[in-house]
């Protein structure tokens, strides 16, 4: 599937230095996160799942050592990004929801303020950034189009900019009015229910809110024809509310509310206008919107825009894109030859530092030229080559020095230990084992970085031969539209406040207006967690990492929060990494699952793969220790505890607790065996020579039951 | 009890010391009256700190658990709350000592309390005496000042060390 990968983790290795030695928390894991998908990482405490998520966010503890691997996000390698750059990524592109809501909120700031603060700040920076990105893209387009021989590229782009801004304004007006209409609709519904059930205590505030929202929903495309009627009703409601408050009899108002609600219901179900084409129409044709039904209007403006502007523009832009791509291809070919020429310097058995550094400099200069300014999907490999090669060279040559120091320390410590134990009593401190940098692996790393780059460029040149430039141009235009919208979309304090209140409602906090001004200590744990999720979502991130967010909450609230995350994922096209140890939650949320144990991924596949066809004994053990509604027999618990990661076991880490362990499990670590294109497991049981072991009965029965149910419903 | 301590803590110490001096010094000697002043005011700070500690631990679940097992209030206080709060209490107590030393030096420097009459040399008196010779014989100020600084610093370090020693990581108080 040619899905876009949002995040690629390759061969990640992280350890921690502690007083007792080096704890190898994450040993060589790789996974991909695709756009719009949820990846669930399942494992016990101590399996390394939290460490992985923190490495992605760049918030590892001070005593963490990044041993190796890459985390590719867009055009950055998150393992090597500096703290300054991380500020722009964290919260904005990648947001995180933590497990403990108590410590995730600022206790002396009101909750509403924490929500809106994030929104206002991010809005400012995102407007600035969008403007910068948009201008950069325009400039690149201009250069390349002119270079490709297109005449008057500038005027085309100026036209685009002009009506683009108009379009964004229209769009924001329309969405605002629609939001207000929807809000008024919801408020009306709840007021009607409250009146009918005689729960009238807090109604007056709700009614005022409704009136405000309904008024703001009057616009050209929402509530237009019946606007006068709505205004009359609102006036009526206002006057009747005052007396109803005193007499506590709201029945007169009820009728008005029902009528108003019907108007709003109608308004909300109207067709949406195509503001892009409408913007063009208004900027270059007429200056007022013609009076016709929305569907017809859309058609008219669409035709006009397409024929008069978009089609010729696309053709000309395509020429520019093609030119830029060819230029980059030429640069790539040159880079390949330089890389190939410099490779022997690294492949030597005893590379020389000065030579390597000079070679690296030449290679970096060549690679930098291979960045296509008109690319929408960033090529992370090319962007991160510079830091990768620098890091690899430093690691190798620094390793000589470090290993000598480590050797000295270790011999001294062992001598001291021996002297002390010769005196009779063995001292109760142990010698911390020496941690050497593997020089061979570092050397290989250097060579591999260059080789990978060569392969990558060759693949790109191949792919470019059959590239669909029309599609690429379309992508660029879409991107431009998006940037424009972001640069014009301004959030004022009151808008932010309304958004925050709506967000609080959607995460399930009742009476959000009252709670907006409260402090975090006035909320219960479940409520606090919902606020944390709301804050994480205010900035519209690309990736959301949830580190066991619902572990402390109970079932109904957990179900609500999971529903919320799923809805938001669909609406905003988020990619979610969900860390948990509850398999029921995983079944609900995940598209792909990675099961982790002792720092390694032991099984990786889609949800159907893992639940209907589990292959690793650890997955079997996890599945059989969870009772579902039909379990009657004794639960199979996993005996023992996870291993001590300071001295990780030589073979398969799970062998100790595995009833089905083979002898080879204690000797060698199993590689990832491929079961299908999407399903991988690291267990010797999948080796063609391994004995056939049946899954535990409890699992096979459950799978049968589930399949029967599926057969029935289908 | 809290209100009483709140009221008492607002009485400035110098006023108390001066009053005690004025009325008791001729009867029992200035040293003993100073002692009385310190004793009557010194317990207030510790009292509120102990109270905070007890409130902090009273709501913990293991106290409830002990109550279900049938523990009496006395047992709860002495076997559960006190050992947990001992660390903070002792550290607080030890850190009062530098405060007392400093107040005494202050009072003798200002001349409110004259311990010479009881036959005790005080750093404060030395300092005030040496003040007038500051330009000619600076060492008269230097050595008492050095002495009192070292005394303060060593008690502070001791208090800090105690605080670290009672730290959770050693006996696992809170994680």
């Amino acid at each position: 599937m040619a899905e876009e990968k949002k995040l690629e983790v390759k061969d990640l290795r992280i350890s921690f230095t502690t007083a007792n030695g080096k704890v190898q928390a994450v040993r060589d894991i790789s996974f991909d996160l695709y756009k719009g998908e949820t990846l669930a990482i399942v494992g016990e405490s101590g399996s390394g799942k939290s460490v992985t998520s923190r490495a992605i966010m760049g918030i590892l503890a001070g005593n963490a050592i990044k041993e190796g691997g890459k985390i590719l996000y867009g055009d950055k390698d998150l393992m090597k990004t500096s703290e300054d750059e991380f500020h722009r990524i964290r919260g904005d592109k990648i947001a995180m929801v933590f497990q403990d809501p108590l410590s995730s909120l600022n206790p002396i700031m009101r909750v509403g303020q924490q929500l809106t603060e994030a929104m206002l700040l991010k809005n400012k920076t995102s407007r600035r950034e969008s403007k910068v990105a948009m201008n950069r893209l325009f400039k690149a387009l201009d250069e390349n189009m002119t270079a490709a021989g297109v005449a008057d590229a500038k005027t085309d782009l100026e036209k685009f900019k002009k009506f683009g801004i108009r379009h964004s304004k229209l769009e924001s007006e329309y969405t605002a009015a629609l939001d207000y209409a929807k809000q008024a609709q919801a408020e009306a519904e709840s007021v009607i229910i409250h009146i009918e059930n005689k729960a009238v205590d807090k109604l007056s505030q709700d009614i005022t809110d409704f009136c405000q929202a309904a008024k703001k929903s009057v616009s050209h495309f929402v509530v237009r024809d019946r606007a006068a009627e709505l205004e009359a009703l609102l006036g009526d409601i206002k006057s009747k509310t005052a007396e109803a408050k005193k007499s506590k009899d709201y029945s007169a108002v009820l009728e008005d509310f029902k009528k108003a609600k019907s108007i709003l219901d109608e308004a909300v179900s109207f067709d949406a206008p195509n503001t892009f084409t409408l913007g063009y129409y208004l900027t270059f044709d007429e200056d007022k919107i013609p009076d016709m039904p929305v569907a017809e209007l859309n058609e008219l403006t669409h035709d006009k825009t397409e024929n008069e502007f978009m089609n010729p523009f696309m053709r000309r832009a395509e020429k520019g894109v093609r030119y830029s791509s060819e230029k980059t291809d030429a640069a790539r070919r040159e880079a390949i030859s330089i890389l190939k020429a410099e490779l022997p310097v690294f492949e030597k058995a005893e590379p020389d530092r000065k030579e390597c550094e000079a070679a690296a400099k030449k290679m970096k200069a060549a690679v930098i030229k291979c960045l296509d300014p008109l690319e929408v999907i960033k090529d992370s490999e090319t962007h991160t080559f510079e830091s990768s090669i620098d890091y690899a060279v430093d690691l190798y040559f620094g390793g000589f020095k470090k290993n000598a120091k480590e050797e000295k320390r270790f011999t001294k410590a062992t001598e001291k230990h021996e002297k002390a134990s010769r005196g009779g009593k063995t001292p109760d401190w142990e010698v911390i084992p020496a941690s050497y940098i593997n020089l061979e692996a570092a050397h290989q790393d250097m060579v591999d970085t260059v080789k990978d780059m060569i392969a990558h460029f060759e693949a790109q040149i191949e792919a470019n031969k059959n590239a669909d430039f029309a599609q690429r141009t379309l992508d660029i235009v879409d991107n431009l539209k998006e940037q424009e919208q972001n640069s014009v979309y301004r959030i004022t304090k009151s808008v932010a406040r309304e958004k925050a209140i709506k967000l609080m409602e959607s995460v399930g906090i009742d009476e959000p207006r009252r709670r907006f001004r409260q402090y975090p200590f006035e909320f219960s744990g479940g409520m606090r967690q919902r606020i944390v999720i709301a804050i994480a979502l205010t900035a519209n991130p690309d990736i959301l990492i949830c580190d066991e967010p619902t572990t402390a909450l109970d079932v109904t609230i957990q179900a609500q929060i999971l529903e919320l995350i799923n809805n938001l994922k669909r609406e905003r096209d988020l990619s979610v990494i969900f860390i948990t140890h509850d398999l029921g939650v995983v079944a609900n949320m995940a598209d792909r699952i990675a099961v982790m144990y002792a720092g390694k991924i032991v099984e990786y596949g889609t949800a159907a793969d893992i639940f209907y066809d589990p292959a690793h004994p650890y997955t079997w053990a996890l599945l059989s220790s969870v009772p579902d509604l039909d379990t009657k027999e004794k639960l199979q618990s996993i005996p023992g505890t996870p291993p001590n990661m300071i001295y990780p076991p030589k073979g398969d880490a799970f062998a100790d607790r595995n009833v089905n362990a083979l002898v080879i499990d204690f000797e060698m670590q199993p590689p990832m065996f491929k079961i299908s294109d999407t399903h991988y497991a690291a267990t010797w049981l999948l080796h063609p020579d391994a004995p056939k072991i049946e899954r535990p009965k409890i699992i096979t029965e459950r799978i049968e039951r589930m399949q029967k149910k599926r057969g029935e419903t289908k | 009890m809290e209100r009483i301590t709140d009221i008492l803590i607002s009485i400035p110490f110098i006023v108390v010391a001066t009053l005690f001096q004025m009325h008791l010094a001729d009867k029992v000697g200035s040293f003993v009256s100073l002692l009385f002043a310190f004793i009557t005011t010194g317990w207030i700070g510790i009292a509120s700190r102990v109270r905070t500690q007890f409130y902090r631990f009273k709501g913990q679940e293991y106290i409830l658990a002990a109550r279900t097992l049938g523990a009496s209030d006395g047992r709860l206080i002495f076997r559960h709350i006190l050992p947990n709060s001992l660390g903070t209490i002792i550290t607080g107590t030890v850190l009062i000592i530098p405060g007392v030393i400093f107040s005494e030096a202050n009072l003798s420097f200002l001349g409110i309390v004259n311990l010479e009459t009881s036959g005790i040399t005080s750093v404060g008196t030395l300092l005030s005496g040496g003040q007038s010779y500051l330009s000619k014989f600076p060492h008269m100020i230097f050595f008492p000042a050095l002495f009192i600084s070292l005394l303060e610093i060593s008690f502070n370090l001791f208090g800090n060390g105690l605080r670290d020693a009672f730290n959770p990581s050693l006996r696992g108080a809170d994680e």
Binding site: E44, S45, I193, N197, K198, S524, A552, D554, V555, T556, I557, Q558, A559, Q560, H581, D582, L583, G584, V585, V586, A587, N588, A607, A608, A621, L622, S625, V626, P627, D628, L629, T631, K632, K634, L635, S637, R702, M706, K709, R710, T713 | E61, Y62, L64, A65, A66, T68, L69, G70, A71, S72, R75, R79, H80, P83, N84, R171, G172, D174, E175
Partner: protein
Amino acid sequence: MSEDNREVLLKVEHLSMYFGKGNFVKKAVNDVSFDIKKGEVFGLVGESGCGKTTTGRTIIRLYDATSGSVYFKGQRIVAGIGSYVSELKALRAERKTADPARQAKIDERVTELRAEIAKAKHDHKHAKKDLVTKIQMIYQDPISSLDPRMTVKEIIAEGLKIQGVRDKKLIEQKVFEMLETVGLVAEHATRYPHEFSGGQRQRIGIARAIIMNPEMIIADEPISALDVSIRAQVINLLNDLCKKMGLTILFIAHDLSVVKYFSDRIGVMYYGNMVELADSDELFRHPLHPYTRSLLSAIPLPDPETEKNRTRIRYNPLTDHEYTTEEPEFREVLPGHFVRCTEKEFEQYKKQVAES
């Protein structure tokens, strides 16, 4: 439907626990009644804030009940005077405007009530200590329920020491016995709680409870704070102990699949009221109250297909019930299956059950 002739061990009658006074009263538990028979596991479920923990703590006398009573083995151990006091107030107000015959009756009733109040106060204050210690509690948070400055041995032996046992050897022997029963080793006795994992700490808590030889254990969400893979261990342990020692367990939780696996009968609470009470299988077969149905639809199952197509039923107390004309009461729809409903809903539910 099994006819249980087992003796009723714990009887909770119209228990209410209110916090605060006047307009700001919070009705944590509001008129809850149920029985627990000897040897059964009774599950109490509901969302956080619904009053299940408060119920458990009131039964074990950590809070003073506002009104209602709790009988353990026939003896009253918790008595609240709230209902009597409010009746007294109402009667006194009525007395002012009543005729002499009625006044005489009111005076009679007043003296009756006064006697009840005195008896309740006496019962509550002088509940027999050795009877009360037969009910023990296991707490939710394994970290904060163990005193961090006591060794494991001291923690477990505390109960014995409070009872007055002084013989060190006997204490040691009992402690080692308990450690073995819960699956730990004797050498763990000299360590401190922070050196153990969550599951092991919970076992220490269980050991502390069972060393008192209780007849009933109230388990307040003992597994919510543990990893899923360790929950199975603790559940198996509780199951074994229940069978070996003939314990009765009041299991408070919010994870319904575990509750169904483990309990014989289940009571569902919502904002202080008990809304449904039935055998576990029966409850899952015929969930009647809308809240129960919404709760059941929220349980995550380890089956991706059903999960993706599952829609959660929402429960809105304002729309799902008509409580304006009639106050709901706890009625028996089927033998052993109680639901809190009005007369109209009662008929509805009966029809529902007959059809399914």
